[in-house]
């Protein structure tokens, strides 16, 4: 067109079009080229609903292959917070048998990041665990009313026998601390809380699987995400074969009824724990299912503390059973020879100090000292050791003594595969200097030689001493798990540890222990044909209550198959409770059964009750 003076404006207008185009293209570029990965992640998160598929937990077998701990299915009610708008909560509460208050409390608990660090309104949360079967079927009938609520299959424990609760332990929902420590867990997962369930959690738990479902914007499921290409199957937990002999365990718990204390039996050659009784015991089934919380509370509040595994956690004066370790050390250090005899004038008397003994012939040498459990002999032994020139002083002598004891597994945790193990107490020179200044002498510490005073051991350590003697000088760290499916047990459960005492010295100790069974304090343990060796203990306790009844033994003498410690709190003399219990256990294990006579003895023992004061632990 002629005379169009505004024609140049077409450039401005086209320029504006191009400008907008460039700005938009830049934005598209930045989204699709620069941020594309992040966008894809968010998009995938939008459209994926991850559902955890729980694996079956590893099962536990006893040493003879009998299934002890296994799984049963149970259902949880879960929900996805984002989806539950419009769910009939009142009806849900009725169905599950809870109140509206319970409902709101539970919701508040779940939504609190403090309790539940992994909380997200997009992911499945556990609303109620292990609902009873009758509630489950009603829930499933009415499922259409409960928008956003789902059921989830879980595995809980079931037990063949009502024994060994403290050994198996239990599983429960992860705590917030456990959630923080291990990213494997999500809120509502189960984790081993006590016992073997806790110490073998990693092997038992298996591996969770995941199903990824595609969901639309209204969170309706639209089939599997990428046709299930990213789904993972759960991997079942590994089965454990325990070293436990379940029949021996049952007998032990039966014998310990109405008494507080523990029995530990070890196979000396392997360090395998054959039984570990902590009395009072409890039925492991109490800590499964919906009543777990209530039962747990009851067990916690019980003054006799059934949840405490006394065999590894309890520390006691070993009493005269400790003399065996002293005898071995004296021989090894040349303090005495098997022929060395000491006087006993109804006790050890030194200036104004007197430590009593019962009456027996005097003087006596090592074998008889063990079999009669002479206090004076061991006091003299320690006294002589402290006076020996080769140490150059009582401190060095004291620490030599300490080294011997530590080499026998005392004073430190043995490293058993159970939680809550105690160290026990083995004093050293520094300990006494701290308490007495520089004025302590052999006499000050003399009671350690008879397993009293500062010395404390766990029943497991006492039993391990039995294993050491039975092995003539070495031991394998005691352990509960013999085999792990497709896995190996820890190296320390396979390699023997040496003590500082040689084989010869132990042979002398064994002679003494055999003599104790045949002619001494534990004649009741003399089971024909089994060649039992033993040592009683009557441990005084600081509370001035009735003495503890203790027994340490092993059998047979030549090729020991079992080493055992029995500790009965306030049971009096060793022969009153500990010896007969130990004898029955050894008979059961080595003969496979009890004679009818022994069977009636066992019944009688089971009925015998020790009365503990109200405040007794």
């Amino acid at each position: 067109m002629k005379n169009d003076k505004f024609e140049s404006r077409k450039y401005i207008l086209s320029g504006i079009v191009l400008l907008i185009f460039i700005v938009y293209l830049t934005q598209v570029f930045s989204l699709q080229i620069n941020d594309s990965e992040e966008c894809q992640n968010i998009a995938d998160r939008n459209a994926c609903l991850k559902k955890t598929v729980y694996p079956a937990r590893g099962q536990m077998y006893d040493r003879n292959g009998e299934l002890l701990v296994f799984n049963k299915t149970s259902y949880d009610i879960t929900f996805i917070p984002l989806e539950i708008k419009g769910a009939d909560t009142l009806e849900l509460c009725n169905t599950l048998g809870i109140t509206i208050d319970d409902f709101t409390n539970r919701m508040d608990y779940i939504k609190n990041k403090k309790n539940n660090p992994g909380y997200s309104k997009f992911t499945e949360q556990t609303f109620m665990a292990q609902i009873p079967d009758e509630n489950l079927s009603v829930f499933q009938e009415k499922a259409f009313l409960f928008k956003g609520f789902y059921t989830r299959k879980r595995y809980i424990r079931e037990y063949k026998y009502d024994v060994a609760g403290g050994l198996f332990g239990d599983i429960g929902e992860v705590s917030s601390r456990e959630l923080e420590n291990d990213s494997y867990y999500e809120q509502g997962d189960y984790i081993g809380k006590q016992g073997l369930e806790a110490s073998y959690e990693k092997q038992l738990r298996g591996k969770k699987g995941q199903e990824i479902q595609k969901i639309d914007a209204h969170r309706r499921i639209k089939g599997k995400y990428k046709d299930g290409a990213l789904d993972t199957f759960p991997v079942r937990g590994k089965n454990l074969t325990l070293s436990l002999d379940i029949e021996l365990q049952m007998l032990g718990e039966r014998l310990m009824k109405n008494k507080i204390g523990s029995i530990v039996a070890i196979e000396p050659e392997t360090g395998e724990i054959l039984c570990m009784v902590s009395s009072p015991s409890y039925d492991p089934a109490l800590l499964t299912g919906r009543d777990r919380g209530a039962n747990y509370k009851k067990l916690t509040e019980d003054k006799r503390k059934p949840l405490l595994n006394r065999a590894v956690t309890g520390t006691y004066p070993p009493g005269s059973t400790f003399k065996t370790s002293q005898a071995a050390m004296f021989l090894e250090e040349g303090v005495v020879t098997p022929q060395t005899a000491f006087n006993c004038s109804n006790g050890f008397i030194m200036n104004n100090f007197r430590l009593g003994c019962h009456s027996h012939k005097s003087p006596i040498a090592l074998k008889e000292a063990i079999s009669t459990s002479c206090n004076a002999y061991f006091c003299w032994g320690l006294h002589r050791m402290f006076g020996m020139n080769k140490y150059g002083g009582r401190k060095e002598a004291m620490n030599t003594w300490r080294d011997y004891m530590v080499s026998m597994g005392f004073g430190y945790r043995l490293g058993v595969d159970l939680p809550g193990e105690s160290r026990g107490m083995i004093p050293n020179a520094e300990y006494y200097t701290r308490h007495y200044g520089n004025y302590w002498r052999a006499v000050t510490v003399i009671s350690i030689s008879i397993g009293q005073g500062e010395v404390t051991l766990t029943p497991l350590q006492i039993a391990n001493l039995g294993a050491i003697i039975a092995n003539r000088g070495e031991y394998i760290t005691p352990h509960m798990v013999k085999e792990i499916e497709n896995d190996t047990i820890a190296g320390e459960f396979l390699t023997p540890k040496k003590t500082m005492v040689g084989k010869k010295a132990y042979e002398e100790v064994i002679k003494g222990m055999r003599h104790a069974v045949t002619h001494g304090t534990c004649r009741e343990a003399n089971i024909p044909g089994l060649n039992v060796c033993g040592k009683t203990g009557t441990a005084q306790n600081i509370n001035k209550e009735q003495d503890h009844s203790v027994f340490l033994g092993f059998a047979p003498m030549k090729t020991p198959k079992i080493a055992i410690s029995v500790y009965v709190e306030n049971g009096g003399f060793g022969k009153d409770y500990a010896v007969p219990i130990g004898a029955l256990m050894i008979e059961k294990y080595l003969n496979g059964k009890l004679t009818p006579e022994s069977e009636s003895k066992a019944d009688e023992m089971s009925k015998r009750r020790i009365y503990y004061g109200q405040e007794k632990r």
Binding site: F21, Y24, Q27, Q32, I42, N46
Partner: protein, 479 residues
């Protein structure tokens, strides 16, 4: 008569038709892919029917001679406006808007047909022999022609569609309306967007607010550009250009590498210098237009200041929040903000060449709302990636530029004005729709021409285009 008709069909602009066809085909495939394997169904089938109806209508329109369009434009304008008013009363209420008339399962949106009627009316009026835009009466009538349908559509509560008519002011600009309006509108948008979007960001090396700094620099650039292209005195430009360039660069360099100081002081000093220099030059070089440039700078500073003042002190918190959400200063996972976020995620997840169809979950599983209508571009972005999105955008820009080119080759003002009218309408749809989808402009629901699912809009755009194709084909060609 027959011979001439044949000629006209031969003289149709093949390029425009090809562009139209390819946009329509890509659009249909986009709808089809959203639908496949997703929660929707049946849209692509319906859309085919609408495309056929539109093509048939287009063919009919091609047979109507240009002078008929001019003659009936007033009647069409009046009739569609009347229909528009009627719609307000008889329409069914859909999400608060009363713009749809339903008949059985079919429903139409009369507003779509007001567009071409208004465009024709405006072109006819501007094309009158005695029309002069500098004449206030004529100008006001033009504005009236544009505003009237806007008001009706606003009454139907379709704010988005009403905005489209503002595009027609570009036609007035092309036909000689003073550029001040356009300049003012565009600068206001730029200052507002830059000022608010970067109001919380601080420069990486200096403690200076990016929004404030950027706006002063843009004022310098725009005002000096005006001096260059509008004022006649070249020395004024040279002086301003070099003082501002050196002042800005030098102060930035010193502050970053030598002594840190507030470089905003330099920026304000430069602007003050520009104003004083321009005013002095009015007398010295007798260039009166300098006054307007100086006023522009003052106005721009005032506008920026009042923008931030209004944001900080006048606006209600919820209004402020909406603006902040729009500019991505605040995350909003509800409604509008959520939609834009999902839309950006959908586009971004496409990457360079798009995701495989099964993974296009954003558009197919409903995370992007209206993924077949207003947010259809997300589907292209997600499935075709940057390659596809850029291709579609390029095709659109070529299409718009082609129409501008055709408009410019008309030998009658009527034809040129109509051409610009439809170019402007397509351009505004493109700008607002993509701006929304890309999270640059506010969420205003208007369709992307030929892509968004919907019969009325496809038919409306086809009518707009095909009338112009006929007008273009009928132009006299100088031999």
């Amino acid at each position: 008569m027959d011979r001439r008709k044949g000629n006209i069909l031969q003289r149709l602009d093949l390029w425009t038709i090809l562009l139209f066809a390819s946009l329509a085909i890509m659009g249909w495939f986009a709808i089809h892919s959203v639908e496949s394997g997703s929660i929707m169904s049946g849209q692509s089938g319906k859309q085919i029917i609408w495309i056929c109806i539109s093509l048939f209508t287009g063919l009919v329109l091609l047979c109507i001679p240009k002078h008929t369009y001019r003659n009936i434009s007033l009647i069409l304008y009046a009739a569609t406006l009347a229909l528009g008013i009627l719609t307000i009363f008889i329409a069914t209420d859909i999400k608060g808007s009363r713009s749809w008339i339903s008949a059985g399962s079919f429903s139409i949106q009369p507003a779509e047909f007001m567009k071409f009627a208004t465009a024709l009316m405006l072109a006819t009026y501007i094309g009158r022999r005695d029309f002069k835009i500098s004449n206030n009466r004529d100008f006001i009538k033009c504005v009236g022609i544009i505003i009237l349908p806007m008001l009706i559509i606003l009454a139907q509560r379709e704010t988005g569609s009403a905005l489209v008519y503002l595009a027609l002011f570009l036609v007035l600009y092309r036909e000689g309306m003073t550029g001040i309006f356009l300049l003012t509108a565009i600068s206001a948008i730029i200052y507002f967007v830059v000022g608010v979007k970067y109001s919380v960001e601080t420069m990486s090396q200096l403690p200076v607010n990016v929004g404030q700094y950027a706006t002063t620099v843009i004022i310098q650039i725009i005002s000096i550009a005006i001096v260059k292209f509008w004022c006649k005195h070249d020395r004024t430009f040279t002086v301003l250009f070099f003082t501002n360039l050196s002042g800005t660069l030098l102060s930035y360099w010193i502050a970053v590498y030598l002594v840190e100081f507030n470089i905003m002081i330099v920026q304000y000093a430069l602007l003050l210098f520009n104003i004083i220099y321009l005013l002095l030059q009015i007398r010295l070089s007798k260039e009166k237009r300098n006054l307007w440039v100086a006023l522009y700078i003052i106005g721009a500073i005032g506008f920026n200041y009042s923008c931030s003042y209004i944001m900080q002190n006048v606006m209600q918190p919820h209004q402020k929040e909406r603006i902040e959400v729009l500019f991505g200063l605040k995350e909003d996972k509800n409604d509008a903000g959520y939609n834009v976020l999902q839309s950006k995620i959908a586009i971004g997840s496409g990457g360079t060449f798009g995701r495989e169809p099964l993974s296009c979950t954003q558009t197919k599983l409903g995370f992007v709302p209206e993924s077949d209508t207003d947010f259809i571009f997300c589907s292209i972005g997600e499935e075709q990636g940057f390659a596809g999105s850029a291709f579609v955008m390029i095709m659109f820009v070529i299409f718009i530029l082609r129409i501008i080119h055709l408009a410019e080759r008309q030998n009658e003002i009527f034809g040129r004005a109509y051409g610009y009218a439809i170019a402007s309408i397509f351009f505004l749809h493109f700008t607002i729709n993509l701006g929304m989808v890309l999270g640059i402009t506010p969420v205003i629901g208007i369709p992307l021409p030929f892509f968004s699912y919907g019969g009325s809009s496809f038919l409306g755009f086809t009518i707009l285009l095909f009338i112009f194709l006929r007008i273009d084909a009928e132009r006299e060609i100088k031999r």
